[in-house]
């Protein structure tokens, strides 16, 4: 290593030193510690006792683990694509030259900043099977076909879709990122396309989409990470780890949380957390592969 290399290494490390400390303290240490706990019988109140692979073995046999995993994947499988479409559509609308953009942007962003306790309660009311606003609108539409709207959160089959609907209301963050991405689409390309007489869809398909593909990739990955960790809404609406009705809304993180902080099984919860990490990493890798293939 030349002195110049060493100097640059030192200044590089110097600038990143805060992160090195932060990474070590708030990421690496907790990760290793939780890996250790995942091999222990541990409640936070008593000292950990090593128990080998017991937690992982129990996990494989734990019905609720599988159930919460299935519920979570179902939720993410619906919420991520629908959320992407919703957020992107809103962003495209707001990207047009319209009056009051600031107002609309704020309005669409608003739900993401309403305190969850309040927004969950709003949705409990919106989704009420008998008197909720959604069914008040749906009932007349379905009536001619002899159908009645679902009772949403009271029906094991419809509770998860109801939560997906609720999550679509909070796409503000993703929308803002798409808006930013759309600002980077070069105007000249649109103008050239317009001269060629290309319609709205071809322009979107061949200009907008390829340009913002990295933004979509980023949002999908972040959306996936968030959807797999769905917590607060489920926690408030499904009353913690119960996942009513009939455990149809028992999701992974709430189950993990209640295992850790209500049943005081920190070791088991750590094992669950590591499985979740592996899952997210795997899915992110898969998404990256798919993305790369579709771009080439």
């Amino acid at each position: 290593m030349t002195p110049r290399d060493r100097r640059s290494l030192l200044s590089g490390l110097g600038f990143t030193s805060l992160w090195i400390v932060g990474f070590g303290t708030f990421v690496a240490y907790p990760m290793l510690a939780s890996l250790f706990y995942s091999f222990c019988d541990y409640s936070i109140l008593k000292s950990p006792v090593w128990c080998g692979f017991e937690n992982y073995q129990t996990l494989v046999r734990d019905d609720l683990f599988w159930k919460s995993l299935r519920n979570t994947l179902f939720f993410a499988g619906l919420a991520v694509p629908l959320g992407t479409i919703t957020a992107l559509s809103l962003a495209l609308l707001l990207n047009c030259e319209v009056r009051g953009r600031a107002f609309f942007r704020t309005l669409f962003y608003l739900p993401s900043i309403v305190p969850v306790v309040a927004s969950s309660m709003l949705w409990l009311w919106m989704l009420n099977g008998k008197f909720g606003l959604i069914n008040a609108l749906l009932a007349p539409v379905l009536a001619p076909f002899g159908l009645t709207p679902p009772v949403w959160l009271a029906d094991p089959a419809w509770a998860k879709p109801a939560l997906v609907m609720m999550s679509l209301w909070g796409v503000g963050n993703a929308m803002v990122i798409y808006l930013a991405g759309l600002q980077n689409v070069p105007r000249e390309l649109y103008e050239a396309a317009a001269i060629d007489g290309a319609g709205a869809w071809p322009r979107f398909r061949h200009i907008t989409l390829p340009t913002i593909a990295p933004v979509i990739y980023f949002n999908v990955i972040m959306g996936l990470i968030n959807a797999l960790q769905i917590f607060t809404q489920a926690f408030v609406i499904a009353e913690g780890a119960e996942g009513n009705p009939a455990r149809s809304t028992l999701f992974y993180t709430p189950y993990l949380f209640s295992t850790a902080f209500y049943d005081l099984r920190m070791g088991y919860a750590s094992a669950m957390a590591w499985v979740l990490f592996a899952l997210i990493a795997g899915l992110a890798w898969l998404a990256t592969r798919l993305m790369r293939d579709s771009l080439h």
């Binding site: 990143t16 303290t25 709003l122 606003l133 990470i225």
Partner: protein
């Protein structure tokens, strides 16, 4: 996109017609979306202005109303409790241990107890039982009540703006009634007017929230800018590997970290203090490093080179050249963290143990009580108050915000 349409070679008129038709479609779609997004919020506001018994009525009502009726010859504000399903009489018990109680009797009951009751008036089915609304009664049962025909009830729209100050007072976990009684006591006996209450209230929670937000934002901006500079503008061995690891940490789910972090904060003696909520922000985080790094890389390298030739230190370049050019990106990182910290529920839920260190997001829970039900009107009013500052912040900062992300995203 509109400019593209205007410049099209097609006849100007047709193009204009098409453009305006498109405008209508766009506004139509926007209006629909706005309606979908507004409805729950409108309901939040409507609820915050209602009396509690109208908040969760089934079927739901939108408009807050107030009712008044004649009780003992005096027109007072009442709550409509329920409609009587059977005709009968209102009578006062005149004998026995229950003497003095006024009750609603069916005709047969009244006949059976004829000797010990005094009939006051008749009641028909469909009449409303009404109770005097009185904010100062601690025990509702002392309020006056009667059963009156529907037409005797005057009903009009009234928005209860007083819910707002009351909601903020009630954040301390005490009931409004208790606090009002204390206040009256304080006013009538100035000698005893000690600092009104030792229970932490809205101002405490707001102060805590602001502390967490401001200290966190300062930390986020300072630490991430510094670290991102190291990744974006310096060349050193291992940089790209370390950066890749950094990006990978974005995938680590919070549950993996939560238990050991809890243990760590416990060792540091931070449990029950605000430190766990803002101190980690001073040590950078993957997302913000990424955001700022992307932005820093868009600044021409020549600027740094020129400064280096002039003998500037790396830190001086960072501080005097790069930072001033990066205001939109820094503002974005700051705003994102502010919004996150303002609403963070999980962190305070885990680490704060004492009421006096609660943040607003956590304090909102105090309207939910196991035994006396949720005070919906106060919950919604306090929520509205809580979100107002960040709504305004977002409204005025959104352009910079989106600009900040846009510039960083272009070369990702």
């Amino acid at each position: 996109m509109e400019t593209a349409a205007e410049k099209s070679p097609a006849p100007v008129r047709a193009s204009r017609a098409r453009a305006s038709r498109r405008q209508y479609v766009i506004y139509g779609l926007l209006a629909c979306a706005a309606l979908v997004f507004l409805t729950p919020l409108a309901w939040l506001l409507a609820t915050s202005l209602k009396p509690v018994e109208q908040t969760m009525s089934m079927p739901p009502t939108w408009i807050p109303r107030t009712h008044s009726a004649l009780l003992d010859g005096e027109r007072v504000e009442v709550s409509r409790d329920y409609q009587v399903t059977q005709p009968g009489v209102i009578a006062e018990i005149t004998a026995g241990p229950e003497a003095g109680r006024r009750l609603l009797f069916t005709d047969e009951q009244a006949a059976a107890r004829q000797a010990e009751i005094r009939v006051l008036h008749r009641v028909e089915s469909g009449w409303w039982r009404v109770t005097e609304r009185s904010a100062t009664n601690i025990v509702a049962r002392t309020a006056r009540w009667d059963v009156v025909p529907p037409e005797a009830i005057e009903s009009r729209v009234r928005f209860r703006w007083e819910n707002y100050p009351k909601a903020l007072v009630a954040l301390s976990g005490k009931s409004v009634e208790e606090i009002e009684a204390e206040a009256r006591r304080g006013a009538s006996a100035p000698a005893a007017a000690a600092p009104a209450s030792d229970a932490p209230g809205f101002s405490t929670f707001l102060g805590n929230t602001l502390t967490v937000c401001v200290l966190g934002v300062l930390g986020v901006v300072f630490s991430n800018a510094l670290v991102a500079y190291g990744f974006a503008r310096l060349r050193w061995r291992g940089r790209d590997t370390f950066f890749a690891i950094t990006l990978a940490t974005m995938m680590v789910p919070f549950p993996v970290l939560v238990v050991p972090l809890y243990g760590l904060f416990k060792q540091l003696g931070w449990i029950g203090t605000l430190l766990p909520l803002w101190a980690p922000a001073w040590f950078a985080s993957a997302f913000n490093i990424f955001l700022l790094r992307q932005f820093f890389r868009t600044i021409p390298e020549e600027l740094s080179e020129a400064a280096r030739i002039d003998g500037c230190s790396e830190f001086a370049i960072f501080w005097r050249i790069i930072l001033p050019l990066s205001k939109p990106a820094l503002a974005t990182a700051a705003l994102l963290h502010f919004l996150f910290a303002w609403n963070d529920f999980m962190g305070p839920l885990l680490y704060l143990t004492r009421q006096k260190s609660f943040t607003l997001a956590l304090a909102l829970q105090s309207y939910q009580s196991q035994q006396s039900g949720v005070q919906w009107h106060y919950l919604m009013a306090a929520s509205a108050v809580t979100i107002l500052p960040i709504v305004l912040l977002f409204f005025f900062a959104q352009k910079t915000f989106i600009q900040g992300i846009a510039t960083t995203g272009s070369r990702s």
